[in-house]
Symmetry: D2
Subunit: 284 residues, 4 copies
């Protein structure tokens, strides 16, 4: 794979942004591979993702940041630049249900997820053999209401020690504290087993069954201080019927959860997600 | 099409129901074309729909009802019998958006809906030319908060006069009173432009847009006294992205609404729906 | 709606295209509303669609064409420019099944399709009342193998007389001759009632039933000299089961056909489709 | 889980089948949990699946078979009886791509698949560590055109030795000989990475890309002597766009393959599939 750089931009919309950015890149020898823009009519915000091959590009990272800063200032941009060969580090948190963890580990092995999985943290022992099989360090960290603050400090220490870029909650059934969440803004992805905003909170499959819906869904989202209320990244649904009991919903839902979570993780790792107004722009 | 009879049964589950019903029908010469059962594990209820050709069947309607009553009593059945050649009568209520109305009228003409459309009632004038083109009587009945009770009485009189079996709310933007609804239990079908129970109430597409969901949905359901809370009959969804503005959601949603409403109406007319616990069993 | 211009570009990929185009537009006061690019890795082709508001743009059509020609030459571009207020004209061809025609006429009335429907041509009489209700001229033109060449000449004359930009085959069950097709390259859209390339040719629902597939589909595509072989614009599918007989497939398929055809027509009218290598790029 | 028996019936349709079967079961104390029938109008064939709790049932297996034989003869039934506590044995064949194998092994561990996985056979070494991690015997059996007949004999010996009921081809890239297939009629399930009958044969994702389809699919089916032509069990699709290159199709397709194959295996293990006319009836 070619070495590429990715520029993500978010700013008030006005004339000349594309022209200025494209000309800047062209002047420095960038060969643009992908470019995508979005303009939100309501908020008059402009979003851009541009990816280019680095082979003929004449700026190193420091120079790029330096030179682009003045353009960014001119347009009041929020921006970041990423490099495809700088592999992000992730931590996976999991509880007793392992289907999302197994899926992520297997996809990583297959090459679908461009990251290093630094560690798996769980409040249950079940995940240990599977994690060790994939040669990922496993940390058993049981949580009680009393020990939770202390455990979270230990978790944060572990995660910081590994310079983790993204925390993935792969059916981790503990609610993280607001303090924890505040430490990793837009860097914690959770999967919720319902089509949010329907059926927030615990036992959504039971709620869906009681309600008699004809489709069940699953949602991956960034975690914020509002439970099940962060920016939605991806959702999918599957048809059910009266013949499906709660256990059938749970089983069918597992396939959704794996797909919806893994897509969110991949898009995050590929720097395809921009957030604003508690929503996401996905540059696929 | 063959003349057929349809028996719908709902009773506590116990041994011998299928055997008793099947033997009864067999003894009277019924040629069973379709039979479907469902057993709800939680409530221990049993549901059955059986349809048979009448050509060799030796019981007329009165005799069938008479003879089956003792079986029904024995198993504490709630039951009904329907005949395929007894075409149900429907009334359609509509407001200013005509896509669902146009769809139902066209499907009826195509032969998809086995019913007589007796009348269309609207609180707007827009629907009149289309309705008249399809040669269906049209009644313009504007509603204000003050006149609503009186108008509802007039609507009920019209509907009763035509012996209407089913009222279809095809994007009728007035909330029917509890009294009105109570007169047609499980006989009023509405379409709501969201994936219920998410986004109940007014302006669901705006709410979906604000929330940043990745799929929008539509739901058809029987109307009960609880707004947007009756038994769900059918739901479907379509994928959207950040590129879709509210108007795009509205446009994409129209296709869902037409499909979801027309399926509900067809299943009702074909006597394929049983209700219990504010849920539906759809014998498709 | 704002008056906008749309530029569609197709050329060999090389550095500087985006920069050059964006700078050109910026220098002339364009406020870019949407821009989308695509690069096909295999063929090394570059595709671009850019739409801008005309209010501050300082070039009229002739000047734009004149000035952009030199850029186009420099990059060996195939290109076209369209204006949102220049409403395309369409002709609809239909046979005995009217669901696609009714759908297009109703969508047009609703405002979903930005075009003038100049005429409807049919080899059957059934479509006449519906077409006249929507106040569109109707031409009954029966076809036999013997009269086909002559009828096609008459059809071409009618269509040319109205300066038709796009011909929509809305379940028109006659195969157009290669000569006819050659007159409207990439300007005839057909809907085929299967998930192409499966089940080309006649009676695809019967073929799907015989094959026992679990999903049926529908495909809209540009018409080329190869039957059912032109560039695919849109496809969709719906689940079926063993309970569905051929008539059920036909009924379920009608909903797919309407959706798939209307999307293709809308995208074409909005200048969102680029073709290459018998494939389409859809800038949605 | 309750101990249950499952009766599968396939016979010419005539009056009295349901009545006779239901009465027979009732007389012997069966508590019917699920019953489903299907009548194919074209072939006038009748299909039935009935499952009942064994706790009050007064016939053991031998007596059931003995007594039911006369009913079966009377109606010319093809029939079989299965017991839920008799766990089927499966063998999985795999080549170098492990996603379907990993999925099946993980689902088995989760309890989704009611079977014993007796062995994994592969013509590549890659699958060995994963298989051993799940404590399933692994057999490396490379195949060349010359050694294929001999290797197939060894495979058949291994499979016979373990009394395998079902062979699952989990992306096994060798075509089994007609002789091999004939030994396991309706007992070999394959997954093909296209929406059959489109794109049979090798490299279907490349063919789908070249064709420019807008959805890609996957199909699970029983293996017959006709390559990719056996009865279809399940299919699913996912939307793609011009932005997806062949590698994206391959990646998206992997999710489909896992879902479509695992559903087929589960339905087979739960005795939910009946075959006729190269098609399947799925009693879900």
């Amino acid at each position: 794979m070619k070495r590429t750089a990715i520029l993500l931009i978010n700013c008030p919309d006005r004339k000349g942004i594309v022209s200025t950015v494209a000309s800047f890149l062209y002047e420095h020898g960038a060969n643009i591979l992908h470019a995508d823009q979005h303009r939100d009519d309501e908020s008059s915000l402009f979003f851009m993702r541009v990816e280019w091959a680095l082979e003929d590009f004449d700026l190193d990272e420091a120079s790029l940041k330096d030179k682009f800063s003045s353009i960014a200032a001119q347009f009041s941009m929020t921006w970041q630049v990423e490099y495809s060969d700088r592999v992000p580090t992730i931590a996976i948190f999991v509880s007793g249900q392992l289907h999302c963890l197994a899926d992520l580990l297997h996809r990583h092995q297959t090459g679908e997820l461009n990251c290093r999985i630094a560690l798996v943290i769980s409040n249950h022992r079940q995940a240990e053999p599977l994690t060790r099989y994939f040669e990922v360090p496993f940390f058993y960290m049981p949580v009680t209401p009393e020990t939770k603050p202390e455990v979270e400090q230990q978790q944060l220490a572990l995660v910081a020690d590994q310079s983790v870029d993204l925390i993935v909650l792969a059916r981790y059934m503990q609610v993280l504290s607001a303090d924890f969440v505040a430490r990793y803004p837009r860097r914690i992805i959770n999967v919720h087993h319902s089509f949010l905003p329907a059926f927030t909170g615990a036992r959504p499959y039971h709620a869906a069954f009681a309600q008699g819906v004809k489709l069940i869904g699953s949602t991956s989202h960034y975690v914020t201080a509002t439970l099940d209320g962060g920016p939605i990244i991806e959702q999918d649904v599957i048809r059910i019927s009266h013949r499906d009991q709660v256990e059938d919903l749970i089983q069918k839902g597992r396939d959704l959860e794996r797909i919806v979570l893994s897509r969110a993780v991949r898009w995050h790792l590929d720097h395809r997600i921009l957030c604003y107004a508690n929503k996401t722009v996905i540059f696929d």
